[in-house]
Amino acid sequence: MTLYTQNLPRWKKEEVAEIKRSIEEHTLVGVVDMYGIPASQVQQIRRSLRGTARVKMARNTLIEHALSDLGGSVAALNEHATGQSALIFTNENPFKLFKLLEKTKTKMAAKPGETAPEDIVVPKGPTSFKPGPIVGELQQVGIPAAIEGGKVKIREAKTVVKEGETISKKVADALVKLGIKPMDVGLVLQAAYYRDTIFTPDLLAIDEEAYASNIVLAAQQAFNLSVNAVIPTRLTISAIIGKAVREARNVGVEASIYEKGVIDLIIGRAQQQMLAVALVAADHGFELDEATL
């Protein structure tokens, strides 16, 4: 299957060979988008992934060559390798990797034209600015700035850009001045190849805890169904017996059936009713004796 690489120059062949080797040596290979990540942050991310995952930057064409050479289901990763893609190798499962990459994201200043990932809110409170043209600049983009005690102050919290809206140049400038960094920047996993399957972010965003809690939920549903529909199983028969006994007791007390299992409950109910009536009688002038209370 070296059909695709036979005409490449030597260094490219070596690069492709290395990519192929890395893919084969790891249980997972992913495609990540590097777009817009400053070099300094890439270094930081690499450091925090060290020992767990390795990021390999390569030209898209070489990645494509490597994947096509390997063929089979991994070749489908090609569809996800666009723009400034890099490969990531790890022996973790795709959920772990997805979470790991989420954690490496950091907040950065917004550039004009970017989309707000969430509502961008300027918090209420004092700023470090002295009075000056800054007040007008802030007010221009709708931030309620005022001068107070010789400092510029934001009078109340204000949402300047809603989630999904584009951030204008003026707003971006104001946010930079206020030191607000609304953008999540980091490696975005676009697809992961793991155990002969391509995992896309929509599957990976469901985390393990969600599965675990669904397991609990399913177990509860099964338990409820077994008890409520009276389908005895070893796990639920005690609960079913308990339900039957409680229902029998309820009937016994409600109907005043004087049987040993319920007579104490009936006494208890009579006693409580007596106390209730005694308290009301006391309210209406009947003096209670000490033994009552």
Binding site: A270, V277, V280, A281, H284, G285, F286
Partner: protein
């Protein structure tokens, strides 16, 4: 609280809670009846909706039992 039990017995049996009835019940139970207390009880219960008071007993969770969350 024999007097209250007597009243509840009568109420449950669908009888009026009168001096005579309460006295009769208490006597049958061998209680040395104090007329003044009977009168006081009957007077106190005159304006009371016993049914309501009883049903409150079934609802009001006792302070002690309120689970500390």
């Amino acid at each position: 609280m024999e007097y209250i039990y007597a009243a509840l017995l009568l109420h449950n049996a669908g009888k009026d809670v009168t001096d005579e009835n309460v006295t009769a019940v208490l006597k049958a139970a061998g209680v040395a009846v104090e007329d003044a207390r009977v009168k006081a009880l009957v007077a106190a219960l005159e304006d009371v909706n016993i049914e309501e008071a009883i049903s409150k007993a079934a609802v009001a969770p006792v302070a002690a039992a309120a689970p500390a969350a």
